[in-house]
């Protein structure tokens, strides 16, 4: 038997024996497992599933074993994804640590930092948040002002971050700070610290969707050990930009999977507008639905092509901006179309007169508006494509 087939058979057996039945059902967003010191599990089997996967290194299958991974090849990891997809296994762990911090920690972190943080990320023990945006530094991120002063044996941090996702639940933060005020990009450093440090305060922000996933985060005289600096002093912008590429890929991906309980747009359209033969009776909306699902398919094919390119070692650098731009715009368009197809049924805010799916469409529609703002706006993504891919002048 081919080695990969053998691996597939083993993996399939292991998943069948170890993935609890309740972890093979569609997941509501509040059931997503983020891990951390204070993690709560709505369903105890979520914790069991996380621990079994982490023990095998399958929360981060391609990481080396010494950092908590399974040391799988790209091909093996693809087999694992396929087999998990076949059984409809939920992702055991959602983690900014895995998606955003770890890729840059592998590249820029020193040995001690990697040994301290990576295994805890892999096991879901520490939940991370991202300290990037500030009230005066959104699209112009490098204008950030949070001060980090060298006080001999430690750094002292003062300032404010905003749009810090889940800061109120996070254990640690990876943070961009200003270590030199005389230059813009060249005065930024990348630092890690514990959110339990004295002087850290978080305040959740209520969004138009009613949810509060973002916080304002305040730092007042926060003392941070000097060994928590990642990379060199004043060279944080390089790390920051690289991390953004990972974040963009993640948002495009989450953008396509949030509202996991919302059915595909053609299914919703048929339910509200289908004629006796199941055909969408309104020809204008039918054309719009076809356009939407066809663009979704072409986009999915483009992601697959990019994965194949990167496996062959020939990826293009501007790809993450394209995926962020197109994925989020496509997701927003999908929810606008769902609203059109479902009419007033998708405009309920609360109450038993609306199905949970209808309420979900409405709330997720509102939430989707943020997809093209967070992690670099659509306009910024187009700027990046124009500059990096097309070489247009500044």
């Amino acid at each position: 038997m081919h080695a990969l087939d053998e691996f597939r058979a083993e993996t399939r057996t292991w998943l069948e024996q170890n993935c609890p039945a309740s972890m093979r059902t569609p997941m509501e967003d509040e059931e997503r497992v983020w891990g951390g010191r204070n993690a709560t599990y709505k369903n105890p089997e979520s914790k069991l599933w996380l621990d079994r996967m982490a023990e095998r290194g399958y929360t981060v299958p391609t990481w080396p074993r010494e950092y908590g991974g399974a040391g799988l090849s790209g091909e093996q990891a693809q087999v694992l994804r396929e087999e998990m997809g076949r059984l409809k296994c939920r992702p055991p762990l959602s983690s900014f640590g895995i998606w955003m911090l770890a890729p840059v920690l592998f590249k820029y972190g020193n040995d001690a930092q990697k040994r301290e943080h990576l295994p805890r990320i892999a096991r879901g023990e520490i939940r991370w948040c991202q300290g990037y945006s500030e009230p005066g530094a959104g699209s112009d991120l490098a204008a950030l002002k949070t001060r980090c002063e060298d006080r001999g044996d430690h750094y002292l941090i003062n300032g404010q971050k905003i749009w810090t996702s889940y800061a109120n639940f996070a254990d640690w933060i990876f943070c961009l700070v200003r270590t030199d005020t005389s230059v813009k990009h060249g005065g930024i450093s990348f630092i890690l610290f514990d959110m339990e440090s004295p002087g850290v305060e978080t305040r959740p922000i209520t969004l138009i969707s009613g949810a509060s996933v973002f916080c304002e985060t305040f730092f007042t005289d926060v003392r941070v050990p000097k060994e928590n600096l990642v990379g060199r002093l004043n060279e944080g912008w390089t790390i920051a930009k690289e991390l953004l590429q990972h974040e963009r890929g993640m948002i495009a991906e989450i953008g396509r999977t949030v509202g996991g309980t919302v059915p595909p747009v053609d299914v919703v359209a048929k339910r509200y507008l289908g004629d006796a033969n199941g055909r969408i009776a309104d020809p204008v909306l039918r054309d719009a639905v076809a356009r939407q699902v066809m663009n979704d398919r072409a986009f999915a094919l483009t992601i697959r092509r990019a994965e194949q390119e990167s496996e062959a070692g020939a990826g293009s650098g501007g790809a993450s901006s394209m995926f962020k731009y197109y994925g989020t715009e496509q997701n927003k368009a999908k929810f606008e179309l769902l609203l059109k197809c479902a009419g007033s049924a998708a405009l309920g805010w609360a109450g038993d007169e609306f199905s949970s799916e209808e309420l979900d469409i409405c709330r997720t529609w509102l939430r989707s508006k943020g997809n093209s703002i967070e992690g670099g706006t659509s306009e910024i993504q187009l700027n990046v494509i124009a500059k990096r891919v097309l070489g247009l002048p500044d």
Partner: protein, 379 residues
């Protein structure tokens, strides 16, 4: 499904790029137009293409082909789209030859296909009878009398119809005028008695003809596939042609886009390159995204055909619909972003705009294919 090119396909593409740039650049289409060339393409260049093996890419080796498949041919087509090269690649290789291969008697295949692969024999498909593509809306009638049929009717937008040695005619042998069933395919001699071929002068300066058939007699041995079974024979070949045309359109879109981006880096106004203006940058970046999505859809459709997958029809419609929308956007933006110079006949960008609208109509535009995709997905 391998959405990347194999080494062999990449070599084919590079070779095609060099050939079309050197041998059939846009200015050769201009020369054909300005000289009002009777055939509308260069025979000598087609001979060279055949010698490179491109006429036989889809044909089995037993008929003189190389059986490289649609993904291979797609690379040649994409490069031909970059220079708007006029050639029998579409009508003969993508439309005519696969119908002969799938539906003709062995004797007919032995006679015709090696001559197709060597570039000597030209084919055409006479399908549409109305200005918008409607492959089931066929009023041309074929009535049996003894060992032959008599055909009466007319056809439009028959690509290469005025130069083809043989023409595949889609005619009705039973059923009502819009019934997908009851169609039969006949292989007519290009110079058959009663067949009138009139070249139409289209905006893209390429080859198309109107056909009128008045009691054209054709033998039973010239029926392709079964009587009344034409639809089943035609559909997969149309999908192959749609995917191939989408590859050509991708090439045309890439070229028009790259020329436009180059112009944005060259042209100065208000003391700076106009490509520095964000309003123009964003439009360029949007076109880039649409081109990337189109490329994925095109490759997927070509692969699906080579792998005989079950979703060929959906992927062919996806590829053609994306190519149509992308090319309409890109050619319109190309003219606008070139400014006044883009409106002149001297500048070549206008040739891309003119060709694009004909490419969009051939075998179904974006709305045709969205409707078809919706029907295939049962909504």
């Amino acid at each position: 499904m391998n959405l990347l090119l194999t080494e062999e396909e990449a070599i084919l593409k590079r070779g095609a790029h060099e050939f079309f740039a050197a041998r059939l650049p846009v200015k050769s289409l201009r020369a054909l137009r300005d000289s009002n060339a009777a055939e509308g393409f260069e025979r000598a260049a087609w001979q060279e293409m055949a010698e490179l093996g491109w006429a036989g890419v889809l044909l089995p080796e037993s008929y003189g082909g190389s059986a490289m498949g649609y993904k291979g041919l797609g690379q040649v087509l994409e490069e031909s789209g970059r220079t708007l090269a006029a050639s029998p690649l579409f009508a003969t290789i993508l439309a005519g030859a696969p119908l002969v291969l799938a539906g003709a008697s062995e004797a007919l295949k032995q006679t015709l296909l090696p001559a197709v692969a060597s570039g000597e024999c030209l084919l055409a498909l006479a399908l549409d009878e109305h200005p918008r593509h409607a492959p089931s809306r066929i009023a041309t009638r074929a009535v049996r009398s003894g060992a032959s049929y008599r055909l009466n009717g007319s056809k439009m937008l028959v690509l290469d119809g005025h130069v083809a040695d043989y023409i595949v005619v889609v005619a009705r042998t039973s059923g009502a005028d819009t019934d997908p069933q009851g169609l039969t395919l006949f292989l007519l001699d290009g110079d058959a008695d009663g067949l009138t071929r009139t070249r139409t002068h289209m905006v893209d300066s390429r080859n198309a003809a109107h056909l009128v058939m008045a009691d054209v007699e054709v033998g039973n041995d010239r029926v392709l596939g079964g009587v009344d079974q034409g639809h089943a024979l035609l559909e997969p070949v149309l999908d192959g042609a749609r995917a191939g045309l989408a590859a050509e359109m991708l090439g045309s879109g890439m070229e028009a886009f790259e020329r436009t981006v180059s112009y944005l880096k060259l042209r100065e106004q208000f003391g700076q390159k106009i490509g520095a203006f964000q309003a123009l940058k964003h439009r360029a970046a949007l076109m880039y995204c649409e081109l990337e999505l189109t490329r994925s859809a095109v490759i997927a459709a070509l692969c699906a055909i080579d792998e005989s997958r079950a979703d060929i029809a959906a992927l062919a419609s996806l590829a053609k619909a994306k190519a149509c929308d992308m090319l309409e956007l890109v050619t319109n933006e190309a003219v606008q972003l070139h400014g006044g110079i883009g409106m002149t006949d001297d500048e070549e960008i206008g040739f891309f705009l003119k060709r694009a609208r004909v490419q969009q109509q051939i075998f179904g535009d974006a709305s045709f294919h969205r409707d078809r995709y919706a029907a295939l997905m049962a909504f």
